[in-house]
């Protein structure tokens, strides 16, 4: 449970930055070196290394250094846990709205039948 929780902490934190989400989207299209990513996002190498480090910690990206080039690719971790958490919350939201709607419908029906009884 703690592991699950800290995985969610790390991945949601990693995704809370537009550049890091951009890096993930970029790596969908293919592997890229840190310097290619730095160029693409108009950042310094040091800045991009930090972002990639955060994504790597969260398991969303893996890197491999061959010679002087560090190549980044999408990590093995899918986002099933994050999707499940968010979908659970959306489901509850919808259920609450549906329940509210039923109550309103029941009240409407009651009002109509009361009106008929009294009319």
């Amino acid at each position: 449970m703690v592991q699950y929780s800290s995985r969610l902490d790390a991945s949601f934190a990693a995704l809370s930055d537009a550049t890091r989400r951009g890096v993930v989207e970029q790596l969908w299209r293919g592997d890229a070196s840190i310097s290619e990513l730095a160029d693409r996002f108009h950042m310094t190498l040091t800045g991009m290394k930090k972002h990639v480090g955060v994504l790597e910690q969260a398991g969303l990206v893996t890197t491999q250094k061959i010679g002087r080039v560090r190549t980044c690719r999408l990590g093995r971790r899918d986002l099933d846990e994050e999707a499940a958490w968010i979908d659970g919350r959306r489901r509850v939201w919808n259920e609450r709205f549906d329940a509210l709607e039923s109550v309103v419908e029941a009240l409407k029906r009651k009002e109509t039948s009361d009106g008929r009884d009294n009319g």
Copy 2:
């Protein structure tokens, strides 16, 4: 686009903390005051106020002060954008794995037929 992006920044950051996710889950079950939430999560009022502030900024929670009690409830914002972003990423992952599988299958078939041709 910038608005969309900063909404994602704020909500993913809000969700990157286990206490804040716990508060959202708690509010699924019903509204609660800040002090009830502080008790429940064994925190100081000040600490809980900060967490609720982060959730409120992200639109995930709304609060209303009546008299001396500030009541928290689930915000109006659903998590559709976050779900869409994550689902998009998962779809790409699956597509890439499917593509990889097709290549492996094609190679296997080629190998078998080459073996047959040469055998």
